[in-house]
């Protein structure tokens, strides 16, 4: 373990790049989450009806229909063929996320993301153990279960419990006791399972992940040769297994993070002092030589520089 791994996460990036640059994508992401929430709140709060509805389905400027494709899919397997408006809306949303990365929804739009990020922040502060860690593929099982339940019960099953729509619809139309679902997710992530909900269980995330399997926008460890093993990217990444193949790949292996689990949150770009990561597209064919093999007696150059 180098001295640097004992530094607080992101400390070195702040020192190198400045606080703002070291939180760039985090701030942009929070701004984006707030932006999408405010779009929907403009109507109920200020009477400006640019956007009507909620994340399940909406109408923008009275012309653009948008529908959550996952809800549309549940409707379809439940045996109901929706009107064209809803289907067009679902296709528009699906195509958009298929291009920019399905789980961009998770990190840039979903209102539950700040909740689970908050839970993780507190989890870190309290120094809690990671707790129950279900297998990564559990979310696909949950996804299958939801679709099966929808088909068997003939209903949009996940909307009975979906904390995302409970929160989003609750903020816009009145929440009732739906906040209990949000609190449950927070407590689950805080005490039961680190990064448990978004990272392991949520079938909405699983669906959007599959949707963005071939998406264009990708994070790439382009300058992986300069990695100094500080491990900050692993510490901040909500899906840390996606980093390894790209960062630790050999020279002939792609530096692109191609896992559908990556949410394109860009936090790894923020916290990396040597700027290893960057946003690029999936056809980026630039050379990205792997870093030279190291031994314990030959620490990375960056580590000694920092020390």
């Amino acid at each position: 373990m180098s001295d640097k791994t004992r530094l607080p996460v992101n400390a070195e990036a702040i020192a190198e790049k400045g606080w703002l640059q070291a939180h760039k994508y985090l701030l942009l992401r929070r701004a984006s989450q707030l932006f999408f929430l405010c779009l929907f709140m403009l109507g109920p709060w200020f009477g400006i009806w640019w956007v009507k509805g909620n994340l399940s389905g909406s109408l923008t400027f009275d012309v653009l229909p948008l529908t959550d494709p996952f809800i549309a899919l549940q409707s379809l397997v439940a045996g109901y063929w929706p009107e064209t408006t809803a289907l067009i809306g679902a296709v528009i949303v699906a195509v958009a996320y298929a291009l920019i990365g399905g789980r961009v929804y998770c990190s840039w739009v979903c209102p539950i993301n700040p909740v689970t990020d908050g839970a993780h922040w507190l989890h870190d502060k309290l120094g809690l153990a990671k707790g129950w860690q279900p297998k990564r593929n559990t979310r696909y099982w949950v996804l299958g279960m939801v679709l099966a339940a929808s088909a068997i019960m003939g209903t949009v099953a996940w909307e009975l419990v979906n904390p995302i729509s409970m929160l989003h619809r609750g903020l816009i139309f009145g929440v009732g006791f739906a906040w209990t679902f949000v609190l449950a997710v927070f407590l689950f992530d805080l005490f039961v399972s680190r990064r448990g909900w978004c990272g392991h269980l949520c079938p909405v995330g699983a669906f959007y992940g599959l949707l963005g399997t071939k998406s264009l926008l990708r994070v790439s460890a382009t300058k992986r040769a300069e990695c100094d093993d500080c491990m900050d990217c692993f510490a901040v990444c909500p899906e840390m297994h996606v980093i390894t193949p790209a960062l630790r790949g050999k020279s002939d292996e792609t530096p692109l993070i191609l896992s559908p689990d990556c949410t394109n949150c860009g936090r790894c770009i923020d916290v990396c002092a040597p700027n290893v990561f960057e946003f690029t597209h999936r056809f980026d064919g630039r050379e990205a030589p792997a870093r030279p093999a190291r031994t314990k007696s030959q620490p990375a150059s960056g580590a000694s520089r920092a020390a």
Partner: protein
């Protein structure tokens, strides 16, 4: 054979795979059962929660509605609400209204139906008079002022389909002996279930007339019964050929054939006489 030695290192992987799969399947089965239970509960729509015009039957509605609330937004009278968890009884996030609070104003252009992106509110509904959100039922005939012989008439007056969906049926007021009762009477084939009658009922708190879902308010017609008078009309004559149609026995003097004027041949006398009946008067 070497196969036995080769199988040994494979086995832990296969065992782990089977264990993981079994665990996932069991977990999903538990969670899925829970979800199915919720789905069943969600269908139990309370009687007072009325769906918007054109809503599909409840089971189909829950497969079609995406809980976007666009119908709520386009309702000009703020009649519709999205059900809140633990507060309203309807499935969370689905639109409904409570007639006693805000009834449906029956807009001619039906904006809620137009707004629905999925067709959970059926776009084939273009004439609001064809809406069947529920059916009004005069449920408390003991407190209804009209039923008591007074002239309230409010439910009848506010009905958008007045004289068709609600009529006032005249009958004798037995209590006073000299007045009429104007009974508000709902005709389900015309009632849209808008709830304006329920909203306007002058009784405090609960209304004497309530909009109920068809599933609660309406019985199936007795199809195994053939209604003689309808069959006769349809046939244009007696249903059974050659049957002798005897005069009906009706109460009152002059019609009771036991007390027919002149009596029967042989001086037939009734076995007993009731005081105050026609029999006594005529003989």
């Amino acid at each position: 054979m070497s196969a036995t030695t080769k199988r040994t290192p494979k086995s832990p992987d296969r065992r782990r795979f089977l264990q993981d799969s079994a665990r996932a399947v069991a977990g999903c089965a538990v969670a899925g059962t829970f979800l199915a239970k919720l789905a069943t509960d969600a269908r139990a729509l309370p009687a007072q929660a009325i769906r918007p015009p054109g809503a599909l039957p409840e089971k189909d509605f829950l497969a079609a509605c995406i809980r976007c609330g666009l119908c709520v937004r386009d309702c000009p009278y703020d009649t519709l609400k999205l059900a809140e968890l633990g507060v309203d009884g309807a499935a969370t996030g689905t639109p409904f209204f409570t007639a006693r609070d805000v009834p449906c104003e029956m807009c001619e252009d039906i904006p809620c139906v137009v707004a629905c992106p999925t067709g959970a509110l059926d776009h084939d509904l273009t004439d609001i008079d064809d809406a069947r959100m529920g059916v009004a039922v005069l449920i408390d005939q003991e407190n209804c002022l009209n039923a008591l012989g007074l002239r309230c008439d409010v439910c009848y007056r506010v009905c958008p389909v007045i004289d068709e969906a609600i009529t006032l049926e005249l009958s004798h007021n037995e209590r006073s002996g000299s007045h009429a009762i104007f009974m508000p009477t709902v005709h389900a084939d015309k009632c849209t279930g808008c709830g304006k009658c329920e909203k306007s009922c002058v009784l405090p708190h609960e209304s004497a007339i309530k909009v109920l879902p068809h599933r609660i308010a309406r019985a199936d017609s007795a199809e195994h019964y053939r209604l003689g008078w309808e069959e006769k009309d349809a046939k244009g004559g007696p249903v059974v050929d050659g049957i002798i149609d005897l005069p009906d026995r009706l109460p009152g003097p002059g019609t009771d054939n036991l007390a027919a004027p002149g009596g029967y041949e042989g001086g037939f006398e009734p076995a007993f006489k009731l005081p105050g009946t026609g029999a006594e008067v005529t003989q």
